[in-house]
């Protein structure tokens, strides 16, 4: 039976001769929510980009609302009512809510924008979603969740029939997630079909009518949303039984490396206290916005603190700026690799050596060749795949390989304390396991205290000697050893 809204059939897609989708089918009915699951790199975003006309498939049939399309471009897709809602906000923060909803399509009377009409219509749309947001407010003054609803409202004014939501809940609080789900119910009853991309398995049973799982460019499972068990989904996503508590070897407690007492920031977290020993890996687990990443930012001097103290090897440490922190033997890996981590146009060797330059020569000089030697050493140890060796531009590497280079940057600098924020974001499954192994190995071998802020519970299970769970800016519980368990983590953090 052909689905009445969207039908993708036998979609193949290759990039530079590498096939990433191997004949995937996808169908969506009006008024249906289809959850699309899969690890990073499974092909989810490629598939929805094809549906949105962003990229064209190498082969395959696309049928939208009964009309089969030989070629689909962005404009056509929009005409047919396909709309994407991304995790990142695409609004204009300095304009009002009403203006944002009708961005670029402001109602006009005699050629002039009619504010009265604009506000009236905006109110109408928001009412339709049963959302109560003042239409005069600046979009930038709203909460993230509200701004996301705004984007959905905008899609509705443009007659959305198919709505693709790409991990919309990643940055939302629980209340906001509930509100989003209510809005989605509204849309369902109005006949909008939705493709819902998520990493959160618990959301599937809550909102999805059907679930489809992609793995390595193949569709491996399609089933009714209520029937899918968690284990079944995880197995389908990973291709093998979920790694259950393959817990790292426990370490003997050694010297205290980091001690944090009553640390508070102005808005993101308050009264946080914990300590980390040499060689220990501690994960701070919490949803995005819970304050876990912000603690590490503050400890490295990237975000002002309002109170509390930090001791590094017993000495008081005031993180005024990243330069001071790095000189004090602290390393920091940001979540946003492209924007804050890598020097895209520079070589992998340079990217790796940037913190070790002062050790590679005297009087401010860097001895030639030492960068390449350092790179080759780490490339071998960490299995960094750079086809053209040390001189290759880092931007041309895969996400996983880039991340290994950025980790090696701090290893080469011999830091005592390493702060990692979402260390495997945008890294494919295979490399992810590698990175966990690398972090653990380096922590033990060089007696490094490692603190990881993450929103990925699997990461915590595979990585942490100890886990601190954060919710709404506070540490709510602590798990040690075999008590670090996926279910406990998820329920404690909500």
């Amino acid at each position: 039976m052909k689905a009445d809204l969207v039908h993708l059939e036998n979609i193949h897609k290759s990039f530079n001769g590498v096939e990433v989708l191997h004949g995937v089918d996808l169908s969506l009915n009006a008024g249906e929510v289809l959850a699309l699951l899969g690890e990073n790199g499974a092909g989810k975003s490629t598939l929805v980009k094809i549906l949105a006309g962003d990229i064209s498939p190498t082969s395959g049939n696309i049928t939208i609302q009964g009309s089969e399309l030989a070629r689909l471009d962005v404009y056509q897709a929009r005409q047919l009512g396909v709309r994407m809602i991304f995790q990142e906000l695409n609004d204009a923060p300095t304009l009002t809510v009403a203006e944002n909803i009708f961005l670029g399509q402001w109602p006009r009377v005699n050629g002039m924008v009619s504010w009265k009409e604009l506000k009236r219509k905006a109110k109408e749309v928001l009412d339709r979603l049963e959302v109560n947001i003042p239409v005069d407010a600046m979009a930038g003054s709203l909460r993230v969740g509200e701004r996301q609803l705004l984007e959905i409202a905008r899609a509705l004014t443009q007659n959305a029939k198919v709505l693709v939501l790409d991990e919309p809940t990643a940055a939302l609080s629980n209340v906001e997630v509930d509100r989003l789900f209510i809005v989605m119910q509204q849309l369902k009853s109005q006949g909008v079909g939705m493709i819902y991309i998520t990493h959160r398995l618990d959301e599937v049973a809550q909102v999805a009518d059907r679930v489809q799982v992609l793995r390595d460019g193949n569709s491996v499972l399609t089933t009714a949303g209520k029937e899918a068990s968690r284990d079944e989904l995880v197995t389908a996503m990973l291709g093998h039984e979920a790694v259950k508590n393959v817990r790292p070897e426990p370490i003997k407690t050694s010297k205290r490396a980091v001690e944090v007492k009553n640390l508070s920031s102005f808005t993101e977290f308050e009264d946080v206290s914990f300590s980390v020993d040499e060689g220990e890996v501690v994960c701070i687990f919490g949803k995005i916005g819970s304050g876990s990443a912000e603690i590490l930012e503050s400890m490295f001097g990237l975000r002002p603190l309002s109170g509390g103290e930090i001791k590094i090897f017993g000495k008081n440490f005031i993180p005024n700026n990243p330069g001071i922190s790095a000189d004090a033997g602290i390393g920091y890996l940001p979540a946003d690799r492209q924007r804050l981590g890598s020097f895209g146009s520079r070589s992998v060797a340079e990217n790796l050596s940037v913190r070790a330059w002062h050790t590679m020569g005297r009087f401010g000089f860097v001895k030639s060749g030492l960068e390449a030697i350092a790179f080759n050493r780490w490339a071998e140890a960490l299995r960094i795949n750079s086809r053209r060796g040390p001189t290759q531009e880092i931007a041309t590497l895969s996400g996983g390989n880039q991340q290994k280079v950025l980790l090696a940057r701090w290893f080469e600098a011999h830091v005592n304390v390493l702060l990692l924020v979402e260390p495997t974001r945008g890294v494919d499954v295979g490399a992810r396991r590698d990175i966990y192994e690398i972090i653990r190995m380096q922590a033990r071998e060089s007696n490094m205290a490692v603190i990881v802020a993450t929103s990925d519970y699997e990461e915590v299970v595979l990585l942490a000697d100890r886990a601190l769970i954060m919710a709404r800016g506070k540490i709510v519980s602590e798990l040690t050893g075999n008590a670090v368990d996926a279910n406990t983590l998820v329920s404690a953090s909500s």
């Binding site: 520079r346 940037v354 750079s386 041309t396």
Partner: protein
């Protein structure tokens, strides 16, 4: 292809060391083509004295091009060098006449430091973009240069050796330029400071997050630029035996044209001093050839403007190609 497959193939130490064609290759070809053309069309071109002329003509621009390249690599630009050189020349002419050469040169040096500090302060501490800051100082300092000489040229006595001496038959300005270029190239390639400039230009946010003291480094580079402009002004004034407020007009445009021609990216993070020297040679040979062919001087202006736009367009096209590849 899965990550694990590619990984097993990769033993990086055995990776083939492929040398790609250097980015400056097209420029070398262009330079040689131009030289061939002028050799054929003008009997005066291929001559050692003429080559000296070309080098002397480019030395003054060259001196400001060295810190200019460092700035461009770090994603900044200093447009004030033209007016700055003019002010320096006026100061020199006035003080040499009254208090002697040493005092004059010391004052020029101090002036260069101060103007570098001012530019650096507004860019790093206040956070104004370098384009706007130095456009402002460019305009302001032109006024200052006119003010010092009351709009007139100021004659200078007994100090022409800096601009015209020829130890070992090589003009002194050319020697100064050559030494500074070598020093600059070593600094860029071999020092933490130089490597940091590339990092800052490539990704200023990442540079901050990784703990590079960007403000300090940029401040220092603006100071170099100020001092280099002051030196350029001194050489020029010595050549003319007079401080002329209009003598260095357009210096900043020549410098930026040469730097961008030489392959430094306006977006920062890329560039070499070797490239800049090539860019200077291209401009120098072009100007010289046009003069030898008796083409009216306003055509030189036009040629220079066209070269700037071509160089920048080339940079843009290259950036787009890179984005597509990455």
């Amino acid at each position: 292809m899965s990550e694990s497959q590619t990984m097993s193939q990769a033993v990086v130490s055995e990776a083939k060391k492929r040398r790609s064609i250097p980015a400056t290759a097209p420029l070398v070809v262009f330079l040689l083509a131009m030289m061939t053309f002028f050799t054929i069309t003008s009997e005066y071109f291929f001559d050692i004295e003429n080559f000296k002329n070309i080098l002397v003509a480019m030395a003054v621009t060259g001196v400001v091009c060295i810190p200019g390249t460092l700035l461009m690599i770090s994603g900044q630009v200093d447009l004030s060098v033209g007016s700055s050189a003019a002010v320096s020349g006026m100061i020199l002419a006035k003080t040499v006449n009254a208090h002697g050469i040493v005092t004059g040169l010391v004052l020029c040096l101090i002036y260069g430091l101060v103007i570098g500090l001012i530019n650096g302060f507004f860019v790093t501490v206040v956070g104004v973009s370098s384009l706007i800051t130095t456009l402002g100082t460019l305009a302001t300092l032109y006024g200052v240069a006119l003010l010092i000489g009351n709009g007139q040229t100021v004659g200078m006595r007994n100090f022409d050796w800096l601009g015209t001496a020829q130890p070992f038959h090589v003009p002194l300005p050319v020697i100064i330029f050559a030494l500074l270029s070598i020093a600059g190239a070593v600094v860029l390639r071999k020092t933490v400071y130089g490597r940091s400039l590339y990092a800052i230009g490539s990704n200023p946010n990442a540079a901050r997050v990784v703990g590079i003291r960007s403000n300090r480094i940029l401040m220092l580079t603006f100071i170099y630029s100020g001092v280099a402009a002051a030196l350029a002004g001194a050489i020029l004034t010595s050549q003319l035996s007079a401080g002329d407020p209009n003598a260095a007009r357009g210096l900043e445009l020549q410098a930026i044209t040469a730097i961008v021609l030489g392959g430094a990216s306006l977006a920062g993070g890329r560039g070499t001093l070797f490239g800049t020297v090539l860019g200077l040679l291209v401009l120098g040979v072009l100007n010289n050839g046009l003069i030898l062919l008796d083409i009216p001087t306003f055509w030189q202006r036009i040629a220079q403007g066209v070269m700037l736009i071509l160089a920048v367009s080339f940079d843009q096209v290259r950036q787009k190609l890179n984005d597509k590849r990455g």
